[in-house]
């Protein structure tokens, strides 16, 4: 019971930003997120895979934007009033990901996240666990693995990415 007093003041590591791609809920650690913006005007990238939407200018910094839905096999993301871009700071790069809607900030401790869920049907979807809130299921997304960032930052010019 002593522990419960600790869990009430939430640590920032336990907070996630919840967003939607089509009808699924996803979460990424709040600490990895720099900001959330509307869909910017982008410039296409020569020779890039289709899920690269383009590059944008974020206050002087040129950042690649990725259509996460397309990458995860859910098809091209149509722009609506709710469509947003989350600027994610991964260990090696800063990228933007397009999502259908940003929902809320959720708190999920290690205890409430279920690991090793094997209901993973999508090829590129890499998750760190599942957070259940009543009926709703939020997949805690591992961005670096889902986008193969390791392969991307070590790519050689002209190589084809899958």
């Amino acid at each position: 019971m002593i522990e419960s007093s600790k869990t009430t003041d939430t640590k920032s590591e336990d907070r996630f930003l919840e967003f939607m791609i089509r009808d699924e809920f996803f979460g990424i650690p709040l600490l990895e997120i720099r900001e959330v913006i509307g869909v910017p005007k982008t410039i296409p990238i020569p020779g890039a895979p289709s899920w690269y939407q383009g590059i944008m200018n974020l206050r002087g910094q040129v950042i690649p934007i990725i259509d996460l839905g397309l990458k995860l096999g859910s098809g091209h993301t149509e722009k609506t009033n709710e469509t947003a871009v989350i600027i994610v700071e991964c260990t090696s790069v800063t990228i933007g990901i397009i999502v259908d809607a940003v929902k809320k900030v959720i708190t999920a401790t290690e205890k409430t996240i279920q690991k090793n869920q094997s209901q993973n049907t999508k090829k590129d979807l890499k998750i760190d666990g599942v957070f259940r809130n009543g009926e709703q299921m939020t997949l805690i997304l591992n961005i670096e693995k889902s986008l193969n960032l390791d392969d991307i930052v070590n790519a050689t010019p002209g190589s084809t990415l899958i």
């Binding site: 410039i43 020569p46 020779g47 890039a48 040129v62």
Partner: protein, 609 residues
């Protein structure tokens, strides 16, 4: 907390040590330069010796302070070595300098190892023994004939005079250090008092001329600069670049706004913004002197290795150059200076035979010329042997026997990989890897290299690179609906052509006729994976890349020419081809910068020249 504090001071030490070692090296090279000449410059030697002593002593103190005992042990060995030389009035020979340089190199190695792993261990026995050997050989080598004695006398005297105070200060500093050590448990303020006291004493008891400047200088350099992380400067440049873009928008709007106050403020603001931009871009610039010091060392080592006496002259050491350029140009320059000494200069005997001064001269010159930095390496040696280069190239099948190359083109053959006129490879040069690397490095900086050579009189290699990598002159061009930037330095000329001017030749792809010459072309949309679309007119951008026949890249039209702030390409876009970077255009949208030289690999039917 204690850990992180310790870490911080260790980090600071490691950063500062680099500078100290560079300074130490500079001192030894100066001493070596002055003492190896016929005419001896006693005051220069002794002032450098005093500096050297002070630097080594400081290194000893600061390394002990952060607990890098091996660094301080080696400093101690070196310090004792120097003290003995001073006390016994030994003459400093080339071997002495070699030994000190060897120590300095080992310091560098230790610093690198320690920064990777603070607990690295080193064996210093070698240096201990070698110091002993050196000292004893110097003892036996004290010459007895009058001639040398006379020459040596003044050195000794002045050295004595000048060095006395240094030694005393050192003594006192040491005292205060031991005092501090003894009073470790006392409150901090007292330690400061002690320090101050001993400092005051120094000034009072030693108001002599040579101590004051040393201290003043130390004070000055501490006030003059602060360390800033490169990352912060890049960030600053990013934001300033953004500000410039917004300012441009304001400028365009000011006539429409029709507001008196705004129309006054905007032009003023414009000036200020430009000033800020110049300043912030200037932060990346550092004097080239740092690199020149390194070259001095290379020159010394090379001239010894090949047994030629060389006098190196440096000009324009204070010329400011972008830090990245200095880093990238360092290896090529080292290589070129080595080449000048090994290939360029004749041997001493040969020089005497043909009536030249026995000492060879190599000059390094750095200056600004318009938007470019020029670095010249010249020697007064034999000059490049065109005939030999031609023969070698034919022998190595680089060119056919019945070639009709111009003289310049023959000279440029030395930039081919695997080309060397030396028959045997030495430590110094002759492996034929080098000049091609030099060229690649310089081209990667959007630079050029020119050779001027006069048989019997020497050669000059002239490197020209843009003043700053952060800002380039760019051509904004349209391909379909997107804009791309072409580096001005890669564009030779541009011509407007209609599709009828294009011909398809079998096997070589598309060509067009420019003033009677067939030039292979590639459509920009092909390399940029843009859709093709038929146009009424194209603009052919003609490119002359070194070692290739001219080729052309077809864009839809050229929009304008402007200064471009280059931003490195995101790591997430490494797979892209033929792109050097990105930039933000006047309307705030980003655009890619195309590497037109890299495009050559996709041009069908492109012949090497």
């Amino acid at each position: 907390m204690a850990d992180s504090y310790e870490e911080i001071i260790r980090q600071t030490f490691l950063e500062e040590a680099e500078q100290s070692l560079a300074d130490i090296e500079q001192c030894i090279i100066e001493i070596d330069r002055y003492s190896s000449r016929k005419k001896i410059y006693p005051s220069e030697i002794s002032s450098n010796f005093a500096n050297l002593f002070r630097l080594v002593h400081n290194l000893k103190g600061s390394s002990a302070g952060v607990g890098f005992s091996k660094v301080s042990d080696l400093s101690h060995i070196l310090e004792t070595f120097l003290t003995t030389i001073k006390n016994e009035n030994f003459q400093i020979s080339g071997e002495t300098c070699d030994f000190i340089l060897e120590c300095n190199d080992f310091f560098r190695k230790m610093i690198v190892k320690i920064s990777q792993n603070p607990d690295s261990q080193f064996d210093l026995k070698y240096f201990d023994n070698k110091a002993e050997q050196q000292l004893s050989s110097m003892k036996t080598n004290i010459p007895s004939d009058n001639k040398t004695e006379q020459k040596k006398e003044p050195v000794a005297e002045i050295t004595e005079q000048k060095k006395e105070p240094v030694a005393e200060i050192t003594e006192q500093k040491k005292e205060s250090v031991t005092e501090i050590a003894e009073q470790k448990k006392e409150p901090v303020t007292e330690i400061y008092n002690d320090n101050k006291l001993s400092g005051e004493q120094t000034v009072m008891t030693e108001p002599s001329s040579s101590t004051a400047p040393v201290q003043e200088r130390e004070q000055l350099t501490k006030d003059e600069s602060i360390r800033v992380r490169m990352y912060q400067i890049e960030q600053l440049n990013n934001y300033v670049g953004e500000m410039v873009v917004m300012q441009t928008v304001l400028n365009q709007q000011k006539t429409e706004l029709n507001q008196e106050l705004l129309s006054k403020v905007i032009p003023q603001m414009d000036k200020t913004v430009k000033e800020i931009q110049n300043l912030s871009l200037g932060l990346r610039m550092i004097p080239i002197s740092q690199l020149f010091t390194k070259i001095q060392r290379v020159c010394r080592d090379t001239s010894r290795a090949v047994g030629k006496e060389v006098e190196l002259t440096l000009e324009g050491e204070q010329t400011e150059v972008d830090k990245t350029i200095i880093e990238k140009i360092s290896d090529p320059l080292v290589h070129m200076v080595r080449n000048s000494i090994d290939h360029g200069l004749e041997s001493k005997e040969e020089r005497l035979r043909i009536g030249k001064e026995p000492i060879g001269h190599v000059t390094l010159r750095c200056y600004h010329d318009g938007g470019h930095v020029i670095i010249e390496v010249s020697d007064d040696g034999a000059g490049l042997n065109k005939k030999l280069i031609e023969e070698k190239a034919i022998k190595n099948k680089l060119i056919p026997e019945n070639h009709n190359l111009r003289e310049d083109d023959i000279l440029n053959l030395i930039f081919h990989g695997g080309f060397s006129t030396k028959d045997t490879a030495t430590d110094v040069s002759g492996r034929g890897v080098g000049m091609d690397v030099v060229l690649t490095n310089i081209q990667s900086l959007s630079g050029e290299i020119d050779i001027a050579t006069h048989p019997g009189k020497g050669s000059t290699f002239k490197i020209s690179v843009p003043l700053s990598l952060a800002v380039i002159d760019g051509v904004v061009a349209n391909v379909n609906t997107n804009r791309y930037i072409l580096p001005m330095s890669q564009v030779f000329e541009s011509v407007k052509i209609s599709p009828e001017d294009l011909d398809k030749a079998s096997g070589v792809g598309t060509i067009f006729n420019l003033r009677g010459k067939n030039i292979p072309v590639i459509f920009a949309h092909e390399i940029l994976s843009e859709k093709s679309s038929s146009k009424e007119f194209y603009t052919a951008v003609i490119i002359r890349k070194h070692g290739f026949e001219p080729y052309a890249v077809l864009v839809d039209e050229i929009l304008k020419q402007q200064q471009i702030v280059v931003k490195p390409i995101s790591k997430a876009l490494k797979f892209t081809r033929s792109l050097i970077g990105t930039a933000i255009l006047g309307d705030g949208l980003p655009a890619f910068i195309i590497d037109l030289f890299d495009v050559s690999q996709y041009v069908k039917g492109l012949a090497k020249s």
